[in-house]
Symmetry: C2
Subunit: 422 residues, 2 copies
């Protein structure tokens, strides 16, 4: 073909990989041969693809997202498995800044389409991670049919999420048989990866829905600055972080004995598209916004406290003798102390999808969380919020999906879903 | 309020402003106090707001776009002018990395909403430019009513664009009374700016449509690397560039005698949302793709030549004795030699707006061009393409808009549209 995506851009003297690298990278000196006016940052390096867990979960949250849910359109188990093998090989290449690679039989023939779509040819790895998940309908369709002979391997934790009060879910952007979460620091790199996986999967999968996100709304490492969501508040301050190994073992990673053993070392992904009526929020006073959230807008500190990272203290009283953080403040309702100890790792993104036809931006939060069991963690928290959160006046959940993300793949012969299909 | 968007992030020893600054900035050493894992690049500086021409036209194309078209919902000329003054003040602040500022009478009152929505509080200017334009319908509505007493100032060049063959325009994402093009190297900064202008304009304007773009598809300076569009090809190689002063005077900037004098120093903006059926394109062979475009996919060189920036030579023959660049190759049809000398400055972006409900990504190019007279430049080129371009098998124009972008504003008292309304 003659076209090969350029190898990882060199950043002088810095190995940008994983958590430590990403933190170190921020003080990197840009290489002298870096190109003018293309944004080159320390976030352009590669994240390792292979490992015990999939990348893209505790990887320091990249700043851009392309999330896609696929329907499987074949009934042929072998074709599905073959595609998952091809996907794994392509993902291993693309996350390291290479092209999607030679997949299937048609390549190498002159009249055949290129091996790679090309739009990321000149771009660095940009911290790309690709994280795969299996939806409930992959195991058994709506009529109860065992589609690929894996129905008995469906984990109890992959039962459909309940309907929550005020849910306004649109089926066409909910659910899916498979998902891939592409995160990167350059959206063109994330889009390129999803597009090439869709291309490789042609005839086996079909895009059900997809979502771009442009600004991370949480931190997953203590080395990251807390970003802001479209309500203008810092988001993710009290998130589970990569450094909290014991908490991750307790709340994030599926362990032996939890259920289906093919999920050991994996995690469950919940995606919820949350429309925010930002125009109404923007007419709300600062005091009311802070009361609803339970934190100061500027500093991110819990109300009645000083610093962003002060532990939430629900016993503190304000000058009026009332609790500084109200009973139904968002941070209190979502706090593990109010939900039987349940914690989740959030990894969501801001979105603006044009306008809504009513004179407003179609904006909001594409919520993603990872947890050991969504029914024991996400569900109780979301039930609290759906019932009591005053923020509900300004938001609407319009999509929902649950996926089982298997553990990481090993170098050499392993593939996404091997323990499930192998 | 106590909340003020942080002043422009300091990049040690480098003034990143305008063309020269942006080019110089790429080799900057990141400041030691820059924050970990937030992508900090030389593209984080501020572009000057004031000047003879509006920024965001020949400014080296930033990598992210939020474009919005507004309907004016008031009949009150004074309110419209007052909003344009408020917008100008807010734009001058936000492009320099400050908050949207204290606008109108409600601010400073404790129960009032914040002066700024907050989501860009911790972010640098990120090269933000805000470029305003006035649509045909601002002057006279569909019934011919002179809405704001400016109908006699409508330039002939602002006549509606003709319908082109195969146009599949959706009225709800076409046209508009006003537009603002926000370009930045951080999408959160671009979104923040548009959102705050919409907020300031509440009751005067309403969002008609809006579009996010994630990767620039042209260069507007010789210091920029040519990016790639979603067909995987380099795009913008032969674009008008900021350095071509004589060509800009001839093709880009409206000059005295062209028509309405309030547009002297301004330019006309054409926006076309072009859906690409990338799935079909991706099944086309490399040879056919290159024949359609007229350039090599890898290097971007004209067919039959070596380097990307080789001048297109339509006399060259291939080994078969046929012209190396075919008669209906895209680059030939669009070339000024085939269109009476017409040139335009392109400034478009890639987009992916979820999926199309048919198993495909809703992807494409949000085309933007600037020119001295769209009817004499964009129209003949687009007519050629609409009639003869084989690429039409893979694209569909789904929206269209034309706006008159007035000249730049001077520091102190000037505002967007002063020469039109003053």
């Amino acid at each position: 073909m003659g076209i090969t995506r350029r190898k990882a851009m060199t950043i002088a003297g810095v190995g940008v990989a994983g958590i430590a690298g990403a933190a170190a990278g921020a003080t990197a000196v840009l290489a002298a041969d870096s190109e003018p006016t293309v944004p080159v940052s320390a976030a352009s390096g590669a994240v390792p693809f292979h490992g015990d867990h999939q990348a893209g979960i505790i990887t320091p949250a990249q700043d851009r997202l392309h999330f896609v849910a696929f329907d499987v359109v074949t009934k042929d188990r072998d074709r599905l498995v073959s595609m998952l093998q091809d996907w794994t090989a392509a993902a291993a290449r693309m996350t390291q800044g290479q092209d999607a690679g030679t997949i299937g039989a048609v390549n190498g023939i002159p009249e055949a389409p290129p091996d790679d779509t090309g739009e990321a040819l000149d771009l660095p790895p940009a911290g790309l991670t690709l994280t795969v998940g299996f939806g409930p309908t992959l195991f058994r369709d709506a009529s109860g049919v065992d589609r690929f002979g894996i129905a008995d391997k469906r984990p109890a934790a992959l039962a459909d999420l309940p309907k929550f009060p005020a849910d306004a879910l649109q089926p066409e952007i909910s659910g899916g048989d498979l998902c891939v979460q592409a995160c990167a620091n350059d959206p063109q790199v994330a889009v390129h990866a999803i597009r090439n996986l869709a291309r490789i999967g042609m005839g086996v999968v079909s895009v059900r829905w997809s979502q771009l996100g442009f600004g991370r709304t949480s931190s997953t490492s203590r080395d990251q600055v807390t970003p802001r969501n479209l309500f203008g508040f810092k988001d993710g301050t009290a998130n589970l972080k990569a450094e909290d190994t014991a908490l991750l073992d307790e709340h994030l990673w599926v362990r032996a004995g939890d259920g289906a053993s093919w999920m050991d070392g994996g995690s469950y992904l919940v995606a919820r598209k949350i429309r925010m009526t930002i125009e109404t929020w923007d007419r709300t006073s600062l005091g009311e916004q802070e009361e609803i959230v339970g934190r100061a807008k500027g500093t991110g500190a819990p109300l009645g406290q000083q610093d962003e990272f002060d532990e939430l203290d629900f016993t503190l009283k304000g000058p009026d003798g009332e609790p500084a953080i109200g009973e139904v403040a968002h941070v209190k309702l979502a706090h593990h102390s109010q939900n039987g100890g349940a914690r989740i790792l959030r990894r969501g993104y801001n979105f603006v999808d044009g306008s809504d036809g009513l004179g407003r931006l179609n904006a909001g939060l594409f919520f993603i969380s990872f947890q050991r069991d969504a029914h024991k963690q996400f569900v109780p928290i979301q039930l609290q919020l759906a019932r009591h959160d005053v923020m509900n006046e300004y938001i609407r959940h319009v999509s929902s999906a649950l996926f089982a993300c298997p553990p990481g793949v090993e170098d050499g012969g392993d593939y996404w879903g091997r323990a499930l299909f192998g």
